[in-house]
């Protein structure tokens, strides 16, 4: 199993550090399960499959055995563009201290009864 950020772990790292596709194993897919109508699909894990149709079927067998879902999405792990962990500070620390971005920062006006 792998997270999208690590890319395709079926590949092997060559001398230059680039990941090359291993032709003898199936590619990796990320699985998203929607647990009930009205909720969003949530990342459940990953699996190997030879193609998209088989990936959905394998996802059904691996991730919905215990009534977990009503819908499945699969996507090639390679097709996910992830943020770089090294960019964590420039990406995600800016909102800190900016309380005014939260609704709770504001006091409700007296005239608005049902906010």
């Amino acid at each position: 199993m792998s997270t999208p950020a690590t890319g395709n772990n079926t590949g092997q790292t060559n001398a230059t550090g680039a990941v090359t596709e291993d032709k003898h194993s199936w590619p990796l897919w990320e699985v998203f399960v929607r647990s009930s109508r009205g909720l969003s699909h949530v990342h459940a894990g990953s699996l190997h499959a030879p193609d998209a149709e088989m990936a959905v079927r394998n996802a059904r067998d691996l991730y919905t055995r215990r009534n977990e879902g009503v819908s499945l999405w699969v996507v090639r792990s390679d097709d996910i563009i992830a943020s770089d962990p090294q960019d964590k500070s420039s990406y995600f620390e800016s909102p800190k201290g900016k309380d005014y971005r939260h609704a709770t920062y504001y006091t409700a006006s007296e005239g608005v009864k049902h906010l």
Partner: protein, 291 residues
């Protein structure tokens, strides 16, 4: 199946599952389980019991065959897929055998572990060795399509327990058909070698297809009582559906003759004894053991 008939079945079994549900046993909805069937009062009539035994033995033996693949399939994901199918079949077997066993004052385990080879009634196709992955897929295609056609008819059985078991099993078997179909397409249109091997496998399993549609005296009585279809009445649709998959996979529908078979009378191929030895050894070495 008409909606009202489905509703009748649901009503009959509604709530039964919940009476013995526990925190560790998740029983969402009213899915029928062998434990529920064991709790019901009425044992089946002799013919119904024998017929349920046939249905149960087919699923039991194929489940045992398929479970061999766990840890041996081409990929881990396929291990799970075949394991799931085996467990589905084991579930069908447990339900049918539990129902049948009540006629003879026995339990499902007594039927599974304490009968001898000649007492088993499974079709010869179900006991055929797994071979390579291709043989297993060929056997799956032939049997799953047969079972789907059969259960579709059994849903309307005059025997409400057989109808209820079949209604639940039918949804699972539809997936088994899909699994076998997907693999036929991929192996058939994969490489020259995968096509050659699947064609060989389809040819190898073909002689055991004839027996699926053989009408035995019990089948005549079962059909007359509205309990189940005559096997021969399923053949035409089976031929159409299996041929469609084989042709779409760019392979040839085998032409081999049917093998002589009387499995319903307990006459089995040499393979069943070894399968039973493995399946039964633990229960026989430690009678009454539980875990």
């Amino acid at each position: 199946m008409s909606h009202s008939h489905e509703q009748e079945i649901e009503d009959e079994f509604a709530g039964v599952g919940d009476t013995i549900a526990s925190a560790t046993r998740v029983t969402p909805g009213h899915a029928l389980r062998p434990e529920d069937i064991a709790l019901q009062d009425a044992p089946p009539a002799e013919d119904n019991a024998e017929y349920a035994l046939w249905l149960g033995d087919d699923s039991l033996i194929l489940a045992q065959r398929l479970s061999w693949w766990i840890s041996r399939a081409p990929e881990m994901e396929e291990d799970v897929a075949l394991g799931n199918i085996a467990l589905d079949l084991l579930g069908h077997a447990r339900s049918f055998l539990t129902y049948a066993s009540k006629q003879w004052g026995k339990t499902e385990d007594e039927l599974a572990y304490w009968r001898e080879e000649e007492e088993f009634r499974n079709l010869r196709l179900t006991e055929q060795p797994n071979g390579g992955f291709g043989e297993t897929i060929a056997r799956q295609l032939y049997f799953a399509v047969y079972q789907e056609l059969l259960y579709t008819r059994l849903v309307q059985s005059t025997d409400s327990t057989i109808a209820a078991i079949s209604a639940k099993a039918l949804k699972e078997v539809a997936y088994h058909v899909d699994h076998a179909t997907q693999w036929c397409l991929r192996l058939g249109m994969g490489t020259d070698e995968s096509a050659r091997r699947l064609q060989h496998a389809l040819n190898l399993m073909w002689p055991y297809v004839g027996e699926l549609f053989q009408d035995e005296p019990l089948n005549e009585r079962i059909a007359a009582a509205g309990i189940g279809p005559l096997p021969s009445s399923l053949r035409e649709e089976w031929d159409q559906r299996v041929s469609a998959v084989i042709e779409e996979s760019e392979l040839q529908v085998p032409q081999a003759k049917a093998a002589m078979a009387h499995s319903r009378a307990g006459d089995h191929s040499e393979h069943l004894g070894y399968l039973l030895a493995e399946m039964q050894v633990l229960a026989r070495k430690h009678p009454g053991a539980s875990w």
